[in-house]
């Protein structure tokens, strides 16, 4: 049994316990998946506090609706989808409230932790270079890359999570890779790590 399968089995067991009203089981699910959800939420929202709020809301709604959730066969993908929905809701309401802030500046907002790392280790020149790469990728392209490489999901799972057609997943992935490839030659591996922090 692979680690991924074992994790999923543990999650299903905890899910079952939680749906019977065991709060602690829900807490355990939150602990196990927190950083995966956080990484994904951060990619969509670009904001540390908003992402944490979204995760809080997600788990709170799960608790409230536990009786009507039914049997969930794939816990992690299910929670990623739910978080995505929640994050997009927040994002669209924010957009209505504050159209201007959400232009290009918003795209590159990073958590304070990452900002600190970048400030200490990245030259201004490299930073501009990375911005160019990121700007040439669409939000959807970045999301596909994140799910494919960070979450290790296959195209079919990605198409379910993002609710897009399978062919669109392949297209997005291929376009994104082509764009990154152009810049790969100029950037060192270390710089590329920063790209992964910022973009995916």
């Amino acid at each position: 049994m692979t680690k991924m399968q074992m994790d999923e089995r543990l999650l299903q067991y905890l899910m079952h316990d939680f749906q019977k009203g065991k709060k602690e089981a829900l807490g355990e699910i939150m602990r196990l998946l927190y950083n995966d959800l956080y990484a994904y939420g951060l990619k969509i929202l670009k904001d540390d506090a908003l992402t944490k709020d979204c995760i809080q809301n997600l788990f709170y709604y799960l608790w409230i609706k536990r009786a009507s959730l039914g049997t969930i066969t794939k816990v992690k993908p299910y929670l990623l989808i739910a978080l995505r929905r929640e994050a997009l809701k927040v994002k669209s309401s924010e957009r209505k409230n504050d159209q201007q802030i959400l232009s290009d500046a918003k795209l590159l907002r990073v958590s304070s932790r990452e900002k600190e790392l970048i400030d200490t280790q990245l030259s201004h020149e490299k930073w501009n270079q990375l911005q160019k790469v990121i700007a040439s990728l669409s939000t959807k392209q970045r999301e596909v890359i994140h799910l494919k490489f960070f979450e290790g999901m296959d195209a079919e799972e990605i198409s379910q999570i993002m609710s897009i057609r399978l062919q669109s997943v392949y297209n997005l992935l291929s376009e994104a890779l082509k764009t990154i490839r152009k810049h790969i030659v100029e950037l060192s591996l270390i710089d590329l790590f920063f790209l992964s922090y910022l973009a995916f």
């Binding site: 543990l10 939150m30 291929s174 992964s196």
Partner: protein, 335 residues
């Protein structure tokens, strides 16, 4: 053999990814040969290698501590949304409280001097046995497996002191003039009238005090510390015997102290502690063949458990096989 014309084909190929990311990939020989035979693909390979390496690099997330804070936040919100279940009834002589102490030391003598040197009685239980004792003042004590309670035949004028090794559930009759104290080795638990659970097994490293309702005070016997810690409803006090640290957390579930009704409860409990508790509960000996996996933790509740059902439940999750021979359980983790 498939052709890898494009950089993209390489990036998307599972065996190529595996070769890049793991030290002892089964695809190593294949890809080393392929690279040698296709020198014109050198740039593509290098680009693909880079993109795989960066994309497999997970951004730093929250620390365990920060995550625990988030979980606590969730629990607080859940608690707020929940209607209070218990109603105060002041005319009732029983204040309800439950306290659980796990794993305390020293059985040898009483630390607390008793007034008028009252005569002492001792009741004890074996593995797998439980017993109900009624004290002179009407206080009811349910002894859990493999435990011992020492108490005076008649309590003094201004205090009621007992000593416990192992685990017991107390229903103390209220008497404001005579506080009731349970000595559990490194800790004293003091109450006026309340319902609580104390568990004090020598072999456990950690002491837990869990208060469901009512109020108790935990007193560290260590004179240097001189600390008296009041516990509030739904709080859990944990004391590490070495190095002597303590902390207070929110309680997970009332099931935690529901052993009298046959509930076995684990909440993120380390596996070695689970096995010790099972040994006492089922009067058995558990032998673990490969101990490297013992730091794993398990969360779950077993109602009316049997040795088989608990082993099967935990074994299913943590992936081990077991066999039961006579009074002995042998556990073998899957590699």
């Amino acid at each position: 053999m498939s052709q890898f014309e494009e950089f993209e084909d390489l990036v998307n190929d599972d065996s190529f990814r595996d070769w890049i990311l793991s030290d002892d990939s089964e695809h190593q020989i294949f890809w080393e040969n392929w690279v040698n035979e296709n020198p014109d693909k050198k740039i593509e390979v290098e680009q693909a290698r880079k993109i795989i390496l960066i994309s497999a690099h997970k951004p730093q997330g929250l620390s365990n501590e920060e995550i625990n804070t988030e979980v606590d936040k969730l629990f607080q919100r859940i608690e707020k949304s929940r209607p209070k279940l218990f109603i105060q009834r002041p005319f009732i002589q029983w204040a309800a409280a439950a306290v659980m102490l796990l794993g305390v030391a020293s059985i040898f003598y009483f630390l607390i001097p008793f007034q008028n040197e009252p005569a002492f009685l001792t009741e004890s239980t074996q593995n797998g046995e439980q017993k109900v004792i009624t004290l002179e003042d009407g206080t009811k004590v349910t002894l859990n497996v493999s435990s011992q309670l020492s108490y005076p035949k008649k309590f003094g004028k201004n205090k009621r002191d007992v000593k416990l090794d192992g685990e017991a559930f107390f229903e103390v009759v209220k008497d404001e003039k005579r506080p009731f104290t349970v000595n559990a080795g490194v800790l004293d638990v003091q109450v006026l009238g309340t319902t609580f659970n104390v568990s004090n097994y020598n072999e456990d490293e950690q002491v837990d005090v869990e208060l469901l309702t009512g109020a108790v005070m935990v007193k560290l016997s260590d004179t240097d510390t001189n600390g008296i810690i009041p516990l509030r409803i739904q709080e859990k006090f944990s004391f590490q015997k070495t190095p002597g640290n303590w902390s207070i957390d929110k309680i997970a579930s009332e099931k935690q102290v529901d052993w009298q009704n046959g509930t076995l409860y684990f909440s993120s409990t380390p596996l070695d502690r689970i096995f010790r508790e099972m040994e006492r509960w089922f009067d058995t000996e558990i032998d673990i063949r490969n101990k490297t996996l013992l730091p794993m933790r398990f969360t779950g509740t077993f109602e009316d458990p049997t040795l088989d059902s608990v082993l099967e439940g935990i074994g299913f999750i943590l992936d081990f096989n077991y066999s039961i021979n006579d009074d002995k359980v042998i556990i073998e983790f899957s590699e």
